[in-house]
């Protein structure tokens, strides 16, 4: 299963980026192999509008089944759900600790967005 975590940097020790649409990086973690790779979210960071929608499209294309981030607005949430992706919110700390929290079941998928757009 591919889990994508929004990240402020390029490693497992980087802090989680609380923003989804305009997150600096996406860390793609494969729970079967334990391997990860990172990509910069340049396309959405520079978008004039619809950054969350575009980011949702990007993570869908990358094959994510779960997205772990800090906050998510209504349009991005709707797009992620339409792509069949579970959205885990309120993640904090490093990417590694957020993944551990999720695997331990302490971070659970949300049923609704937690912020307005453009928060």
């Amino acid at each position: 299963m591919k889990i994508i975590v929004t990240s402020q940097g390029g490693s497992l020790e980087s802090p989680v980026d609380p923003r989804f649409g305009r997150a600096a990086w996406f860390l793609i973690y494969d729970s079967e192999t334990g391997q990860h790779q990172v990509i910069e979210n340049t396309q959405s960071v520079d978008a004039p509008q619809g950054a969350g929608i575009k980011a949702a499209e990007t993570v869908s294309r990358l094959g994510a089944e779960v997205v772990i981030t800090g906050h998510c607005g209504p349009k991005a949430f709707h797009t992620l759900r339409a792509a069949g992706i579970r959205v885990v919110l309120a993640a904090e700390g490093t990417i590694a600790s957020a993944l551990d929290e999720f695997k331990a079941g302490r971070l659970k998928p949300s049923q609704s967005p937690d912020v307005e757009g453009h928060w």
Binding site: G50, I53, E57
Partner: protein, 300 residues
């Protein structure tokens, strides 16, 4: 002739200047309220609205059965109004600018153009003046298409006055573009001057002829007047702070009718604009006292 009334800062008196000028010009006069997010010329003009038509933009309608999720529509959309997920495309009409690119590029013909209503255009008359206003629906983020739709009704003859939105971004540029002259209304405060400078920069970039009205000119500081002098921008009118003007405004009355002594000032303002237009070639501008003053260059 098209005269746009604009400002950088909001609340400087654009609408007051626009409606009072409109009643001091020789007919036929037309007034277009292009401040479509908050059109309020009608409060002063009290027009009889005889016709209204809705203004809409094209927006994509997706036939999911025909979509093969190729992603072409998402790639062409500059506004992220359409994205492609695993098996389907998903549109966000409220982000769409209506360019039509997605429906043209779709290789399977899955996207057609529907209509999304963004506001209404209303036509009427106030005494002898023709009046058109745009009203953007609440929650719509995109006003330029409605402003353009209102401007399609500019009268071919006489003078058309355009009341513009505040600011210096797309709605203002859409409203002032194509004008023969722009009246920039400011106030003598640091805020007024800051935003006037932005407005002047905008008009110069657009290559439009303009002059300045300083409203409530005797309060605040002298920096706006000094700036205009230094930049060789004609000051068309300095309107003094007057409680009677504020009272008329608060009742939705025209200044030129509630305070008749001020009518000559507005008439003078109207006369200066064509004068400036004709004198342009000679690099001559007209000062506040009506006398022609030679300036080094036309302020463009």
């Amino acid at each position: 002739m098209i005269i746009a009334v604009a400002s950088g800062k909001g609340g400087t008196g654009k609408t007051t200047i626009a409606v009072n000028m409109a009643f001091c010009l020789p007919p036929p006069v037309m007034l277009l309220d292009c401040d479509v997010e908050e059109p309020n010329c009608a409060i002063f003009l009290k027009p009889v609205i005889r016709k209204a038509e809705s203004c809409s933009l094209p927006a994509p309608v997706i036939d999911q059965a025909a979509c093969n999720a190729c992603g072409e529509c998402s790639r062409i959309c500059q506004y992220n109004a359409i994205v492609v997920l695993k098996q389907s495309a998903l549109a966000f009409p409220e982000l769409c600018h209506g360019c039509g690119g997605c429906s043209k590029i779709c290789p399977t013909g899955a996207i057609t153009e529907g209509e999304r209503v963004i506001g209404v255009i209303e036509f009427g008359a106030s005494r002898i003046m023709e009046f058109v206003q745009g009203r953007l629906d609440v929650g719509q983020p995109l006003s330029p298409p409605l402003i353009r739709a209102v401007k399609r009704h500019i009268a071919p003859e006489g003078v058309t006055i355009i009341d513009c939105p505040p600011g210096t971004s797309c709605p203002v540029i859409t409203a002032v573009r194509g004008s023969d002259f722009v009246v920039l209304v400011t106030e003598p405060t640091p805020f007024g001057l800051h935003d006037l400078k932005l407005a002047v920069e905008t008009m110069r970039t657009l290559g439009l002829h303009f002059g300045v009205v300083i409203n409530r000119a005797d309060v605040g500081d002298a920096n706006a007047a000094q700036y205009c002098h230094y930049e060789q921008i004609p000051v068309l009118l300095e309107l003094r702070d007057d409680r009677r003007v504020a009272v008329a405004y608060s009742k939705g009355q025209l200044v030129v009718e509630a305070v008749p002594e001020l009518r000559p000032a507005f008439e003078r303002l109207c006369r200066k604009i064509p004068d400036l237009w004709h004198l342009r070639e000679a690099n001559v501008a007209v000062g506040e006292n009506g006398a022609a003053e030679h300036r080094r260059a036309w302020p463009i």
